[in-house]
C-alpha cells in the first residue's frame, strides 16, 4: 500500500488564515497538498455540524484557523469558535475518533510561514494517527488486505 496521504480539511477565516495561506503561496513556501481549505467569513461561523460533517465524509483530520485572540475582525468570533472546537472533540471521541484529529489554531494574515508550519505539523500528526476509520479509500484498502 502506498504511503498514507491524509485528507485534511482546514476551515480558514477570510481575514487571517486564508490571507496567511495566500501569503504562504506568494512567498513560495511549501506546505503539504493534503490540506483542503474552506474559506469562512469568520471562524465564529463554525458549528459542530460543519466539523462533524467533514469527518463523516472521510476527512482524516480537521482544523479551524482563526485570528489571533483579541484580533478577530468581528470582535470575538474566534473566541466563539474555540469552545465549539473543544466541544466537538468530545463529540468525535464519543464516536470513537481520536480528539487529536481536530484542532484550532490562531494566526494573523501576515503569518504565511506559520500557516505553512501548522499545515506541516498537523499533516504529520495525522499521518502518525493513521487513516480515519471513516476514510472510505483506506478502509476498502485495509479490508482487501485483510
Amino acid at each position: 500500500m502506498a504511503e498514507f496521504e491524509p485528507i485534511i480539511v482546514a476551515f480558514c477565516c477570510h481575514y487571517c488564515a486564508y490571507g496567511a495561506a495566500d501569503l504562504a503561496g506568494s512567498m513560495r513556501l511549501e506546505y503539504p497538498s493534503n490540506i483542503r481549505i474552506i474559506r469562512l467569513p469568520c471562524t465564529g461561523k463554525v458549528t459542530p455540524v460543519f466539523l462533524l460533517r467533514a469527518f463523516e465524509k472521510g476527512a482524516d483530520g480537521v482544523y479551524v484557523a482563526g485570528c489571533l485572540e483579541g484580533d478577530c475582525h468581528f470582535i470575538q468570533g474566534n473566541l466563539v469558535a474555540k469552545p465549539r472546537v473543544n466541544y466537538t472533540k468530545k463529540l468525535i471521541q464519543e464516536v470513537g475518533l481520536e480528539p487529536e484529529r481536530l484542532e484550532m489554531f490562531n494566526m494573523s494574515a501576515a503569518m504565511g510561514p506559520r500557516f505553512a508550519e501548522v499545515a506541516r505539523e498537523f499533516t504529520e500528526r495525522i499521518k502518525v494517527l493513521g487513516p480515519s476509520p471513516l476514510n472510505k479509500k483506506y478502509r476498502h484498502a485495509s479490508n482487501r488486505a485483510a
Binding site: E56, L91, E94, V95, L97
Partner: protein
C-alpha cells in the same frame, strides 16, 4: 421552558441496535431554546450516529427532521408519510413529545434521545437553572417571586432550616438558600408581613400525588 439533556451516546446507540433506517426527530420548542433537541442538535446527533455505525461496519440510514413542536398533534402529523418507512423514531423532544409521537404512531418504536430534567430558564447562553417544580399551587405571591418548592432543597414553606449558612444551602455552598433570598427580597419590598402568614401544609394533590394532571379550556372544546 422544559430543559432536557442529551442521553449518553452509548445509551442512544444501544437503543438503536438492530435498526437500519430511522428518523431523528427534533422539536422546535423548549429543547431548541436550551440547545439540546433542535435542528442543529438533530444534525449533530445524526452525524455522530452515522459515523459510529459506519465505523462498526453496520451503517444506518437517518432521516433528519425537526417539527415545530412534538407536544402537539397537528405538528407531529407532518411526519406521517415518513414513519411507515422507518424502523424507529429517535425523538429529541422532552418526555411529553416522545409520548405524543408514541401514541400517534402505534406501530413504530419511539425512543427518547434526551433526559427531561426540569422546568427553568437560562441565566446566560447555554446555562440553565431550575425555577419551577410545577406543583400546581403557586406561592410566589407570599414568597416575593422566589419559589420555595423548587429552590429550597427541602421545599420548606415557612422559613429556612438550620442548614442555611451565610445565604447558602447546606447541600452545596454554591446553592443559594431560597429562604434567605425570599426574606432579603421581602424586606427590600417592605412586605415582611407576608412572611408572618403561616402557610398551611401543602396540598400535594395538585402536584404529581394526585396522578396525571390535565388542564381543559372549555370554550375550546368542540
Amino acid at each position: 421552558m422544559v430543559i432536557g439533556e442529551r442521553k449518553p451516546f452509548d445509551e442512544i446507540t444501544r437503543m438503536l441496535e438492530g435498526h437500519k433506517k430511522i428518523v431523528v426527530l427534533g422539536c422546535g420548542g423548549c429543547v431548541t431554546v436550551c440547545l439540546t433537541g433542535g435542528h442543529d442538535e438533530v444534525r449533530v446527533l445524526s452525524s455522530q450516529l452515522r459515523m459510529a455505525r459506519d465505523k462498526a461496519g453496520d451503517p444506518i440510514e437517518i432521516i433528519e427532521k425537526t417539527v415545530e413542536r412534538q407536544c402537539d398533534p397537528e405538528y407531529i402529523e407532518e411526519v406521517h408519510d415518513i414513519v411507515p418507512h422507518i424502523d424507529a423514531v429517535l425523538s429529541m423532544a422532552c418526555g411529553a413529545g416522545v409520548q405524543f409521537m408514541a401514541e400517534r404512531y402505534t406501530n413504530t418504536p419511539v425512543y427518547p434521545a434526551l433526559n427531561t430534567t426540569f422546568v427553568g430558564g437560562s441565566i446566560k447562553e447555554g446555562y440553565y437553572v431550575e425555577k419551577c417544580q410545577t406543583c400546581g399551587e403557586c406561592k410566589l405571591y407570599y414568597t416575593a417571586g422566589i419559589c420555595p418548592i423548587a429552590r429550597c432543597s427541602k421545599s420548606l414553606l415557612n422559613g429556612p432550616c438550620g442548614g442555611s449558612t451565610k445565604g447558602a444551602c447546606e447541600i452545596d455552598p454554591q446553592v443559594d438558600c431560597a429562604w434567605q433570598l425570599i426574606i432579603d427580597r421581602l424586606k427590600s419590598l417592605n412586605q415582611m408581613d407576608r412572611y408572618e402568614d403561616i402557610m398551611a401544609v401543602n396540598d400535594w394533590r395538585t402536584n404529581r400525588d394526585g396522578g396525571p394532571r390535565k388542564m381543559v379550556r372549555e370554550d375550546f372544546q368542540r
